[in-house]
C-alpha cells in the first residue's frame, strides 16, 4: 500500500505537465493536504515525545513509590537504619548495616575476580586474536550474559558449591588461612560462592564495554607507539589501555552496579544470614536477597516498610554508581557528539 502511494506521487500528472493553468488549479487542494500533514507531523512528534517523557516518568515514579511505601520506616528509624545491624521482625527493630556490608563485600569480591579477566578477554579479542576468532569469541562472551540469573544460581548450588567445599576451601584455608579471610566452617555456600558467581555474571558487561572503548582508540595511536619500536604488549599498555582508562574505569563501575543489584543467584548462594563476619567462607546477606526472601512474607506494616526502605537504599547506591559510570563511559565514546551538542 505504501509502495503504491509513493508510486502515485512519482507519476507526473499529464495535465499539469502540459498546461501551467491546470497546475494552478491544483494548488488549493495541495495546500489543504499540506496543512493536514503538518498537523499529523505535530501529532506524531508529540506522540513520540510522550513515549520519551514516559521514560522520565517511570524513573520519577520509582523514586516516588519507594519513598511513599517506606515512609513508616523512614520516620521510625531515620539515619539509624543505615548504621545498626539488628534485623528483628518479631520485635520490630530493623537496621540495614549487615545487608549493606554483604552487598558491598560480595560485589567488591566479584570485581576483584572479574576485572583482570575482563580486561584480558577484551585485550585478546580486540588486539591479539586472529580476525576469524573475534566474532565467535565475542558471541560466546555475550552468551554468558544471556544466561538467566536463576540458572546461574541453580548451577552454583549443584556444581560450584560442592567443588568449593571439597577442593577450593580446604586449599585456601590451608595456604591462606593466616590472612583471616579464609577461616571458619567450610559450607561451600557463603560470601565466596556469591562473589564467584557474581564475577562470572558481570564479566560479559565489563568485557563488552571495555572492548567498545578500546576499539574507540584511534589506530594512529597504536601505529605511533609501534613505530618507535614498542613490543605488542607495550603498544597495548601505552597506546591502548592508557588512552582508554577512563572508559575502562566506567566499564568497571557499571559492572559494579550490576553486581550490587543482582538478586536471585546471590540469594541462592550467599547463605542468607544477616551477620558481619571477616571470613569469606561465612554466610552473609545482601540488600537484594533480603527483599527477595522476605517481601512476600512480611505481614506487618513496619516490616514491609523497612523492606521497601532497603529497596530505596539499594536504588540510591546503584543510581549513584550508574551515574558515575555512565558519565565516564560517555566521556570516551560519545565525547565528540556531546561537545557538538553543547
Amino acid at each position: 500500500m505504501n509502495g503504491s502511494l509513493l508510486k502515485a506521487r512519482y507519476q507526473p500528472d499529464p495535465a499539469a505537465a502540459s498546461s501551467p493553468l491546470a497546475e494552478t488549479t491544483q494548488v488549493p487542494r495541495r495546500k489543504i493536504h499540506l496543512k493536514s500533514s503538518r498537523l499529523a507531523d505535530a501529532g506524531f512528534r508529540y506522540l513520540m515525545l510522550g513515549c520519551a517523557l514516559s521514560v522520565l516518568a517511570i524513573v520519577v515514579l520509582i523514586v516516588r513509590e519507594l519513598f511513599l511505601r517506606s515512609t513508616l520506616s523512614l520516620h521510625a528509624f531515620g539515619l539509624k537504619f543505615l548504621m545498626t545491624q539488628s534485623w528483628d521482625p518479631v520485635n520490630g527493630d530493623f537496621g540495614a548495616l549487615a545487608f549493606i556490608y554483604g552487598t558491598l563485600v560480595s560485589s567488591l569480591l566479584a570485581l576483584i575476580l572479574a576485572v583482570p579477566l575482563s580486561i584480558g578477554v577484551a585485550t585478546f579479542t580486540t588486539e591479539l586474536c586472529p580476525r576469524i576468532l573475534r566474532g565467535p569469541l565475542s558471541y560466546m562472551v555475550e552468551l554468558l550474559a544471556a544466561i538467566p540469573s536463576v540458572i546461574y544460581g541453580l548451577w552454583g548450588v549443584f556444581v560450584l558449591v560442592p567443588i568449593l567445599r571439597q577442593y577450593v576451601q580446604p586449599f585456601l584455608a590451608k595456604y591462606f588461612g593466616w590472612t583471616g579471610l579464609f577461616g571458619g566452617y567450610q559450607f561451600g555456600i557463603g560470601m565466596l560462592a556469591a562473589g564467584i558467581i557474581l564475577a562470572v555474571m558481570i564479566i560479559p558487561i565489563v568485557t563488552s564495554i571495555t572492548r567498545e572503548v578500546m576499539s574507540a582508540v584511534p589506530t594512529a595511536q597504536r601505529e605511533g607507539v609501534l613505530a618507535i619500536g614498542a613490543t605488542r604488549w607495550e603498544m597495548i599498555r601505552v597506546g591502548v589501555l592508557r588512552n582508554a582508562r577512563t572508559g575502562i574505569m566506567g566499564a568497571i563501575i557499571l559492572g559494579l552496579g550490576r553486581a550490587l543489584g543482582e538478586t536471585i543467584a546471590v540469594t541462592m548462594l550467599i547463605g542468607n544470614r544477616p551477620e558481619i563476619a571477616k571470613s569469606l567462607f561465612a554466610p552473609g546477606y545482601t540488600l537484594a536477597s533480603v527483599i527477595a526472601n522476605e517481601f512476600s512474607e512480611a505481614t506487618e506494616d513496619l516490616y514491609l516498610s523497612a523492606l521497601v526502605e532497603i529497596g530505596l537504599v539499594l536504588f540510591a547506591i546503584t543510581l549513584l554508581v550508574n551515574i558515575v559510570a555512565q558519565l565516564m563511559v560517555w566521556s570516551i565514546t560519545r565525547g565528540s557528539a556531546r561537545r557538538a551538542a553543547v
Binding site: C51, L56, I62, L128, P148
Partner: protein, 283 residues
Amino acid sequence: MPNQYWWRSFKDKLMVGLAGMATLLVLLPLVAIFGYLVYRGIGALNWNFLTKIPKPVGESGGGMANAIVGSGLILLIASLIGVPMGIGTGVYLAEFGKKRFGYLVRFTADVLNGVPSIVIGIVAWSLVVVYQRNFSALAGGVALGIMMVPVISRSTEEMLLMVPQSLREAAWGLGVPQWRTTLSITLRTASSGIITAVMLSFARVAGETAPLLFTTLGNQFWNFNVRRPTAALPLQIYTYAQSPYDDWHRQAWAGAFILIVMIVVSMSLVRMVVSRGVFKGGN
C-alpha cells in the same frame, strides 16, 4: 636490565599468554554451565513435563506446562507495554532528540537500565498489587515491561541512526510528510534491526525471576486470568531448586533447559538476521 630486549620480549609473550588464558578461563564456566545444563536437562525432560501441571509434594511426576504458558502470558503483557514505549522513545531520540532534552532522556534510559530488577519489582507491586489487593500476572507484566523500555529504546535509536539521511531526504523531496517518512521509510529500513532489539530485550526479561517474586507470586495450577497469581518458568525453577526433593531438582534442571533453549534460539535468530545484512536499502 629492565630495558633489555629479551626482557621486553619476555614480558610481551607473558602478557599475551595471560590474555589468552583469561579468555579460556572465562569460556570455562560457559562450557561448564551449558554442558551440565544439557546433561541434566535432557535427562529430566519428558512429555509429562511439557504437558502436565505440578503434582503435590511427595508425588513424583508432573510438569511445568502451566509455568511455560504463564511465562508466555506475562511476556505478552510485558511486550504490549514495553515494545511500543521503547520503539516510540527510540524514534523520538533518533529523529527529534538532538537537543538537550534528548540527552536527558538518553541518560535517564541508561539509568533505568541500571536499576536493579528487584527494585522494579517493588515498584510494580506498589503500583499494581497494592491497588488490586491481589498478586497477578498483570503486575509481573508491568515490571518486565518497564525493564524492556530502556533496552529497546536505546537499540532502536542506534538502528535508526544507521539509516542513511539521504533516504529520509529522498522521501521529503517527494513531498512525503515526516511522520509518514519515519513510519514507512526509516522504521521499515531499520525493521530487522528493531526486531533484533525487541528479541534481545525479550531474551533479557524472559529469565528474570526477582521482579516476579512478589508480583505474579507463582501458582501450582492453570491460570489464564491476568488478574490472578500465575506460574512463571523462572519462578518455578527458583522454587524447585531451593526445595529438598530430588524429583523437584530434576524438574528445575529440565525447566532451566527449556528456558535457555528459548533464549539461545532467539539470540541466534537475532545474530543470523544481523549478519545477513540489516540495511539492504542504504549503503
